[in-house]
């Protein structure tokens, strides 16, 4: 079994508690990761979202996570801002280099509608992925003002105000979802279950 999930705890904000609760509901065990050495204790990692792109990268650096994340080969799931910082570069409060795991940039959503995009919305699976087993056409909870612009690693798309954006990505061991599975009812729990049940590299 490889069901011990480490939740990377960086910075001061963020709702780690609800991710922990949802993973437990999905049948997994969680460890809150406060320092990179703890990566050894877990099978998989979740990277939550915290504040802005710029602050998040700074906090990861301050807490010594940048190198550890780059060396990591375990499956990692970025959630919301945690997905956005997987990209090459972000444009929130200036231009900031991201983790560069996914060839993408993060830009403000330009739509003729209210931003942030908030609420339950559908996903359209464009490339089959075990993370979305049994979740075709489900709804997930979104709460974001920026979007990941990528063309090569798309798993799902979502439409908001006649604008389609990338709502999840995957490349090798790297997974990212723009929505909040921990806030998405049973569908979100199922996504965590799929993540927990994936084969991971030790």
């Amino acid at each position: 079994m490889s069901n011990i999930v480490g939740i990377v705890n960086y910075g001061i904000a963020g709702n780690i508690h609800s991710i922990k609760k949802a993973i437990k509901e999905a049948g997994g065990k969680t460890v809150i990761i406060n320092k990179p050495e703890q990566f050894n204790e877990v099978d998989k990692l979740v990277l939550p979202g915290v504040g802005s792109f710029k602050d998040a990268m700074q906090e990861l650096k301050n807490d010594g996570f940048l190198v550890a994340l780059k060396d990591n080969k375990k499956p990692i799931l970025g959630i919301c801002l945690g997905m956005q910082i997987l990209a090459t570069v972000g444009f929130e409060y200036g231009k900031t280099a991201g983790l560069n795991f996914i060839d993408a940039e993060v830009n403000p959503m330009l739509v003729d509608a209210k931003v942030p995009h908030v609420g339950f919305n559908h996903i359209e699976i464009v490339n089959n992925n075990t993370l979305f087993n049994g979740l075709e056409n489900e709804e997930f909870y979104f709460m974001h003002s920026f979007e990941v612009v990528n063309y090569t690693n798309i798993v799902t798309l979502t439409e908001y105000a006649n604008h389609k954006f990338v709502s999840s990505v995957q490349k090798d061991n790297i997974y990212g979802v723009q929505f909040h599975p921990e806030k998405s009812r049973e569908a979100g729990i199922q996504l965590f279950r799929n993540f927990i049940n994936m084969e991971g590299e030790k």
Binding site: I12, N15, G51, K114, E139, K183
Partner: protein
């Protein structure tokens, strides 16, 4: 875009109460039980407002909030008596996804909106506006419709958006708890005025009232209290009715 259907709990710890016209409280249940019930019925969010702590200058009572957060796998907003960045921080750690502020920002220190938005992200900062209608304008009130501020609702709504609020929860002192429909003009003006999402509350007495405010003002969400608390309708009933009337809602 789906209109969010949100269950609103007005809490006088440890009970959910139903204020009538922001006065005269009736106990209707415990927050965590009611939140769970509305979650099971398909609510898109739950918002919990401690309606007495600010008025009594009391600290926020955290136990009920944590218990309520633990019963949900949907977004959870919390407000009432928020006076500092530490309060925001504590509430997020207990499981809140958004924190709503009114009195302190309105009457004492609006800069807290900027600070909170910068630290926690815009989407996590909600400004709760209690509007009271006068002849030609609406005035912002605080402390559950008891204290005047002299501020015009339209100016304040624009100001909080500029300061970085990610959402407005719009309540009407005149319509709250009356179950006779929303202040439609107010709702429309504020929705059209700002670019951030506006959730409207105060006045849902029937399914028709909810449909009417969505069609007229196009808010991002509708917050509903007594209609649900007194089992006059379930979230499921509301969503089915709206869907039949060609209004998009989530499952």
């Amino acid at each position: 875009m789906n209109t969010r259907i949100i269950a609103k709990l007005d809490v006088k710890p440890p009970y959910v109460v139903k204020p009538v016209h922001f006065e005269g409280l009736r106990k209707v249940g415990f927050p965590f039980e009611m939140a769970k019930k509305y979650y099971d019925q398909g609510a898109d969010e739950v918002v919990y407002i401690d309606i007495v702590s600010s008025l009594y200058q009391r600290d926020i009572i955290f136990d009920e909030i944590e218990k309520t957060a633990n019963s949900l796998f949907i977004p959870f907003g919390v407000g009432g008596a928020v006076r500092s960045i530490e309060d925001f921080s504590k509430l997020f750690h207990l499981g809140a996804d958004k924190v709503a502020i009114n009195t302190y920002a309105l009457q004492e220190n609006p800069d807290i909106i900027n600070q909170a938005a910068e630290i926690f992200g815009n989407q996590a900062v909600v400004v709760n506006i209690e509007a009271k209608k006068w002849d030609t304008y609406w005035e912002c009130y605080s402390d559950c419709g008891r204290i005047q501020s002299g501020k015009n609702v339209i100016e304040w709504a624009k100001e909080v958006e500029e300061r970085g609020a990610g959402e407005i929860l719009l309540q009407s002192v005149d319509k709250d708890g009356r179950n006779r429909g929303f202040d439609l003009e107010l709702c429309k003006i504020i929705v059209d005025l700002v670019d951030i999402p506006v959730v409207v509350a105060s006045g849902a007495g029937s399914l028709e009232d909810i449909k009417e405010v969505i069609e007229y003002a196009k808010p991002s969400g509708v917050a509903i209290a007594s209609l649900l608390h007194y089992d006059k309708a379930t979230i499921k009933d509301i969503k089915e009715y709206l869907r039949e009337n060609n209004i998009k809602v989530s499952r």
